[in-house]
């Protein structure tokens, strides 16, 4: 899961090179023709060479702890590499132009102002690049967005399906396991280590998350899943997670949701299916069942907000269907 190992060295120096220090390089101008070409070549080649060593440099991102997250990561990394190549090429082109054509005399340059073939070329090539990026985007998007049917218990390939209902509220999370009669919740004040509630999920199974909000818009985001989705009032969102590795992954609300947005933390603990079953029975024994879930957290006004009789009408409710 450690994604920091080889990422940033590939991306950032490239950009810093384009942007950083024309002043230092001004001194090198007289020799420009000798160094300019190898420099362009090296800069274009560098990401390719590194890419050869490692097909998908991470650039500091997580490589993904879920199948969907890994697909997303590969798309991100591929696009980033494309971006670095294009960015470095254009950046060096600008830098070359700056250094090569600095004013050295008062002679008037040739007043050319168009070249239709070149203009068509640099319209056409970006169209092709963009078309390829779009193609890969759609392919990845179809993988990431695919969900099993809402009531399925196994996927088409026979993997068991676990259903979890995530309810976001100001300022905390409720994780309900309707198939197992388990429901746990926590807000800014509790949870392990004060870092919010913990959602326990099995690895090797398909987890279908049903995401709803009780009040305002929240953002369900787990960095190592490379995924986020809004919890929208009035909308029920579904997404699937195929977690590949056990571990604890930090999550956090990403959409500003009021005063304690900052502290709306949670975590996901991925365990083996056997450990997951053990955990479930432990929670049932501890009384963390669906029956203890409040009828509607929405009808009690969230803490810290000011409700006056005249505007109490607009109190949000989670009992509406999806759009």
């Amino acid at each position: 899961m450690n994604a920091f190992t080889n990422g940033s060295p590939t991306s950032l120096p490239a950009h810093e090179h384009t942007g950083a220090d024309p002043a230092a390089e001004v001194a090198a101008t007289p020799r420009r023709r000798r160094w300019a070409r190898p420099a362009v070549g090296a800069a274009v080649a560098a990401p390719l060479v590194l890419g050869g060593c490692n097909m998908y440099p991470s650039y500091g991102a997580s490589r993904g702890a879920t199948k969907q997250g890994q697909d997303t990561f590969k798309l991100f990394s591929g696009m980033m590499t494309t971006g670095v190549i294009i960015g470095v090429f254009v950046g060096l082109l600008i830098l070359f132009t700056i250094l090569r054509y600095r004013r050295r005399s008062e002679e008037m340059p040739k007043q050319f102002h168009e070249s239709i073939p070149i203009e068509i070329l640099y319209t056409g090539i970006p169209v092709l690049v963009v078309a390829f990026l779009f193609l890969f985007t759609v392919l990845t998007e179809n993988n990431v967005d695919a969900t099993v049917p809402v009531n399925a218990t196994v996927t088409s390939t026979g993997t068991p399906v676990e259903h979890v209902r995530v309810t976001a509220f100001q300022w905390g999370w409720r994780f309900s396991y309707p198939d197992h009669n388990v429901s746990i919740a926590g807000d800014v004040t509790n949870g392990p280590g004060g870092h919010g509630p913990q959602m326990v999920l099995p690895v090797g199974e398909t987890v279908q998350v049903t995401l709803v909000s009780n009040d305002v818009i929240h953002g369900f985001y787990v960095r190592d899943f490379n995924f986020s989705r809004y919890a929208l009032p009035g909308v029920t969102n579904f997404f699937d997670l195929d977690i590949l590795h056990t571990g604890t992954y930090a999550g956090q609300c990403t959409q500003i949701c009021g005063l304690y947005h900052t502290e709306m933390l949670f975590s996901v603990k991925a365990v083996t299916p056997a450990a997951f079953q053990t955990w479930l029975s432990g929670e049932v024994a501890a009384g963390h069942t669906l029956q203890r879930e409040p009828q509607s957290e929405a009808n009690t006004p969230p803490p810290y907000t000011h409700v006056t009789p005249s505007n109490a009408l607009a109190a949000p409710s989670s009992k509406k269907g999806s759009l």
């Binding site: 500091g60 600008i94 054509y101 007043q111 168009e114 969102n237 609300c253 900052t262 607009a314």
Partner: protein, 594 residues
């Protein structure tokens, strides 16, 4: 007092001689005719300012107001960065922090970036560039400034009302912005301020479009209008598309808050996502309302300092138009993570915007290619813009992909992306324009040395601030949080970002010193200090009350250049032979020296 404007006289460019007579600081014909700068006799003092309908006065007022707001908002950014430098900092509390980032975003986006460009620079420069005596509707222009001043002071002073300023981010997503979650008067003032400044923007948009459509000087055909004015025209049209939608959305939100409607509330059968649709239908064109004027500034500066005509003028116009057209069809790429929008449609249109943007980049490079580049302050800032916008643009392409957006949405990756784009345009290109046109507006130069110091500190600070933000975003730091855990591994990158922000703040000291110096010890600018080509460099600095006493023949998008350098007009064709034939056709209409 109403002034009836007679057309300016024609100047035949026979006597000023060839380019050598002018040298690098080629200038307009200040010998021709009397100085009309003080021709206008109206009220004086503060009443003069209040009653003025002169586009130059209004433009300057707009610029000063928006710059003041820029510095207020920048100071808020420094407080935000101070809070984030330390994981558990308590420099400000949560409520204040939420107010700060909301007002930072709102002031920058609604009240600085747009008004500085289309209210300030465009107001001043567009009539000059197209050869008009004033904007088409001078009184509407004045009204638009007063609405802007009223709206912006209302938003700024919402800090002092009970409950504090708005605290839901500059996008004000429903239902967080409803009367339950944001009950204070500050929110109402925020909304009403958008109403006022929105109308101000619409009036300016109408004015710009009408001015460019109807008040072009004889011979200034649409395809001879300088790109800055073209971009302002397209910006004006985008304003007319986008701002009414914002106004409608704001009115509906206000009704939800106070008059018991349920347009955005689930309990009354409303749809919260509707706010996002309406807001971003305004918001994405708004991004280009903020960007296009600044593209225009750079497009005007680069040819002047390259001593060449713009490369690919028509390509530039079509690129601007396609950016405008596409930008109206991409709003929901801000809503990919809502799960309720059509992903491929918005993704494809967003990707396509990269193509015209790329065309612009290559046209800028093509303009410099083979030129004689001199790096005075405006050109330096333009180069800063190119590099900043390059990285911001490339990361923007990534965000057009829904899966990558799922991965980075609402993290600092996005924050870094849009700051690079917006600072690249509004600050680098904006100050490039300020340094470029300051001599025209005030008739005095800014100090080159201080300008360059300003640039280099800003440039270094910029990269130190925002490159770490990309990384911290990829490490999972969400935006709009006031503190974080020391165990997150975000501390060092945030510290670095804060140091960069301090450098950016420091760089503006050189700017202030520069302004003070130019007022204490003015260095006269002359009419055309940069050897610019567009029409604004033909008149005096500052221009007389109705802009022109004389006009040169307008036969290309840079009539002043053609006048000053008749030997070095645009090479209308590719071959030398055809070029000469063309030259032989021209003289009798243009009156060029034989």
């Amino acid at each position: 007092m109403t002034t009836t404007i007679e057309s300016p006289e024609l100047i035949e460019p026979e006597e000023p001689g060839g380019p050598d007579a002018h040298g690098p600081g080629g200038h307009g014909p200040e010998d021709h005719g009397p100085d009309h700068a003080h021709e206008h006799h109206g009220p004086t003092g503060i009443l003069n300012w209040i009653t003025s309908t002169d586009h130059k006065v209004i433009g300057k007022s707009y610029m000063i107001t928006s710059l003041v707001l820029f510095f207020i908002s920048g100071a808020m950014a420094l407080v935000i960065r101070g809070q984030l430098a330390d994981p558990t900092s308590s420099l400000v509390n949560f409520q204040t922090y939420n107010e700060l980032f909301t007002m930072h975003g709102s002031l920058m986006l609604y009240l600085f970036a747009g008004p500085f460009a289309f209210g300030g620079l465009a107001n001043y420069i567009v009539p000059l560039q197209v050869g008009a005596p004033d904007m088409a509707y001078p009184r509407l222009n004045a009204l638009s400034y007063w609405l802007y001043l009223g709206g912006s002071s209302m938003m700024t002073f919402s800090f002092v009302v009970a409950g504090g300023a708005a605290s839901f981010g500059w996008v004000a997503y429903a239902p967080l912005s409803n009367s339950i979650n944001s009950p204070g008067a500050g929110t109402d003032m925020w909304l009403l301020s958008l109403g006022l400044t929105g109308f101000s923007a619409i009036f300016t948009g109408v004015n710009l479009v009408a001015t460019i459509f109807y008040l072009r000087a004889p011979g200034m055909t649409m395809f001879r209008v300088p790109i800055f004015s073209w971009n302002m025209l397209v910006t004006g049209i985008l304003i007319l598309i986008a701002f009414p939608v914002l106004f409608g959305a704001v009115v509906m939100l206000f009704c939800d808050r106070h008059f018991g409607t349920h347009i955005y509330s689930v309990s009354g059968g409303g749809v919260p996502v509707l706010w996002q649709h309406l807001f971003w239908f305004f918001g994405h064109p708004e991004v280009y309302i903020l960007a296009l004027p600044y593209f225009g500034i750079v497009t005007d500066i680069i040819p002047a300092f390259s001593r060449k005509p713009l490369f690919g003028y028509r390509g530039m116009v079509f690129a601007t138009l396609s950016i405008a057209a596409l930008s109206t069809g991409v709003w929901a790429h801000h809503m990919f993570t809502t799960g309720v929008v059509l992903l491929p449609f918005f993704s494809l249109l967003s990707y396509l915007i990269a193509v015209p943007t790329g065309i612009k980049f290559f046209n800028w490079i093509g303009t410099m290619w083979g030129g004689q580049l001199s790096f005075q302050t405006p050109m330096l800032f333009s180069m800063g813009f190119l590099f900043a916008f390059l990285m911001g643009g490339v990361t923007g392409v990534l965000l057009a992909s829904p899966p990558v957006d799922f991965m980075t949405h609402d993290t600092y990756f996005v924050v870094a992306h849009f700051h690079q784009v917006l600072i690249g345009t509004t600050v680098f290109a904006g100050f490039a324009g300020f340094y470029f046109w300051y001599p025209k507006m005030f008739g005095r130069m800014l100090n080159e040395r201080l300008g360059k110091l300003h640039f280099w500190f800003l440039f270094v600070g910029f990269w130190v601030t925002f490159v770490p933000q990309y990384l911290v975003g990829l490490r999972g730091m969400p935006r709009r949080i006031a503190d974080y855990l020391p165990t997150n591994g975000w501390t060092f990158l945030n510290e670095m970002s804060t140091v960069g922000a301090m450098i950016i703040g420091f760089s503006f000291l050189f700017f202030f010193v520069n302004l003070v110096t130019s007022w204490r010890n003015p260095v006269p600018a002359g009419d055309n200090p940069w050897d610019g080509g567009a029409l604004e460099w033909f008149t005096s600095s500052p221009p007389p009350h109705h802009n022109f006493t004389h006009l040169p023949p307008i036969r290309s998008e840079r009539p002043t250049w053609d006048y000053n350098h008749p030997e070095h007009r645009k090479d209308e064709s590719h071959g030398d032979k055809r070029h000469r034939e063309h030259e032989q056709k021209e003289p009798e209409t243009v009156g060029a020296p034989s």
